[in-house]
């Protein structure tokens, strides 16, 4: 009886996962999607616990308690820490798949057929490399590790050699599963490749890399489905894999770069040498008081947030500015570049956390035609995504990247810590335009002063 019910539970779980993602397509239905997804997971877990193969529940119970004890605090992290948290959860997901693959190998080899062994090798390879790669990404996002890309000559050669050796040993294991001594070697190669893969990656490439790791973790779960002959795992893994793939394609397009360029191109290094010949050019700087005076006569303002806003934790001050401006009858909107921040959708979540209505957050394609009508474009902690050089300067490393046309606004205000260049290490010609005002200082403090001056002046 139970044997027949379990596949039905799994089927229901698979359907609920698909519904969950479908309902996530828009805000009003999204929460329903999460609940349905969680219910599906509960069905799958309940069904698995009923399986007659389970001898003892002791360690399962221990693991449930431990997992919940770690999982709940991880869900309560502040929204500014979401990119780190996501990287860490990719690491956990990938590790789970790799560990199950390892256990299955030692339980079943050498009496394992070629195809199952192939899936197992893929599961363990993707699992272990995603595990260490995600930990490295976590370290960079948490700034435990240096966020600048670290590169050296023959780095790509070393990386490809590592990957080649991992694939070669994996293939040998498929052909001869009885060579069990090779399995730890193979695992170690996968782990090492994960580390090496992320070393040359810089902070601004994190949105792409996180999406890619999301995809790998999903594919690893799908491979586990082939090893265990479980269709639910295959479906869930394929959904996760395609989601990560779509996100990474969107991120790559938003930077006008290819996958291989992100992974093996090592952005920052190249420009550090070309950027050295910059002459001192004049910029106009303004005090918050002067800036508030300009905002007072504006009727349309477009705010352009970037990673700098997240670093300065300025989103709540930005909300206060939004409130006083809106109260004064100013039309305020937020222009969101797809790669602003450290993961897809980062800015949206931060601004939503600060209680800014989501219908005020506008995507790049929809907002760009509105800049010429805007009185003020207020850039808070964004840099490369506003650089007009991307449109016309063929020699610029970011040439061709879609940008927010901030320079077309009547007045551009840039809140920035100093004149130091952004991640790409290139000068932003936006800062030298006649219509641009630089307001130097910490984003949180400057926006706070703007609010005070603005409220005082009306």
């Amino acid at each position: 009886m139970i044997d027949q019910a379990i596949p039905l539970l799994y089927l229901a779980a698979a359907a609920s996962f698909i519904l969950a993602l479908k309902w996530l397509s828009s805000v009003p239905t999204a929460r329903r999607g999460v609940i349905v997804g969680a219910a599906g997971m509960a069905l799958a877990v309940a069904g698995t616990l009923m399986k007659p193969e389970i001898e003892s529940y002791r360690w399962i119970a221990v693991a449930f308690v431990a997992g919940t004890a770690i999982g709940v605090p991880m869900a309560m992290m502040p929204m500014t820490a979401v990119p780190q948290r996501t990287a860490l959860s990719h690491a956990f997901g990938a590790l789970a798949a790799a560990l199950v693959g390892t256990a299955e190998f030692y339980l079943r080899a050498p009496a394992i057929d070629r195809f199952t062994m192939g899936a197992l090798v893929l599961e363990v390879l993707l699992g272990f490399l995603t595990f260490t790669a995600s930990l490295m990404a976590f370290g960079k996002l948490q700034e435990i590790l240096p966020t600048r890309p670290i590169t050296w000559r023959s780095q790509n050669f070393l990386n490809f050699t590592l990957l080649g050796l991992a694939v070669a040993s994996g293939t040998y294991l498929v052909a001869r599963p009885e060579t069990s001594w090779l399995f730890p070697v193979f695992s170690a190669l996968a782990l090492a490749f994960g580390v090496m893969l992320i070393i040359p990656i810089g902070g601004a490439d994190m949105p792409t890399v996180i999406s890619l790791l999301n995809s790998y973790a999903g594919l690893s779960a799908a491979a586990m489905g082939f090893v265990l002959d479980n269709k639910l795992l295959i479906i869930a893994g394929a959904l996760d894999g395609s989601s990560g793939l779509i996100l990474s394609v969107i991120m790559c397009r938003a930077m006008n770069r290819s996958f291989t360029n992100v992974l093996f191109g090592a952005f920052g290094q190249l420009q550090a040498t070309t950027g050295s010949s910059q002459e001192q050019r004049a910029v106009r700087s303004a005090t918050p008081e002067e800036a508030a005076g300009i905002l007072q006569v504006a009727s349309r303002v477009i705010v352009v947030p970037g990673y700098g806003m997240a670093v300065a934790q300025a989103q709540h001050k930005v909300r206060e500015l939004y409130d006083v401006l809106t109260k004064a009858g100013v039309d305020v909107r937020f222009a969101i570049h797809p790669v602003a921040g450290r993961m897809p959708g980062h800015m949206n979540v931060l601004l939503a956390e600060a209680n800014i209505p989501y219908d005020r957050l506008v995507e790049m394609e929809d907002v760009n035609s509105d800049f010429p009508q805007a009185d003020v474009a207020l850039v808070i902690g964004a840099n490369d995504v506003t650089n007009p050089a991307a449109r016309h300067d063929r020699n610029s490393p970011i040439y061709g990247m879609p940008i927010l046309d901030v320079d077309k606004a009547r007045t551009v205000m840039v809140i920035k810590r100093s004149m130091s260049p952004g991640f790409a290490g290139i000068d932003n010609e936006l800062y030298y335009l006649d219509r641009t005002l630089m307001v130097f200082g910490d984003a949180k403090a400057v926006v706070g002063n703007l609010v005070k001056e603005f409220a005082g002046g009306t």
Binding site: G33, I60, A63, Y106, L228, L233, A236, S242, M343, G345
Partner: protein, 98 residues
Amino acid sequence: MSPSLEVGLYVFVLATFLGLEIIRRVSPLLHTPLMSLTNAISAITIVGSILVAGEQKTTLSTVLGTLAVTCSMINIVGGYLITYRMLRMFRKSGKERR
């Protein structure tokens, strides 16, 4: 090729196409919750982990299985909770946050 493998490959290919179609329609506004939700969903690895931990065939497999269940459980609990928390923050103009 065994029949179950063949079915598995069909399921994988169809689920991938379905995933691509559904996820293309997700608003960029919700890309962060999307990633945390798919991450929670891929913690379905708990199904395999529970079996390895519960079958208790060898000490090694029980240890690895228990660790894997822990990892998957972290992502299930943490993933669904934080996605729900994020989505509660999104509100329209004129409406107070519930």
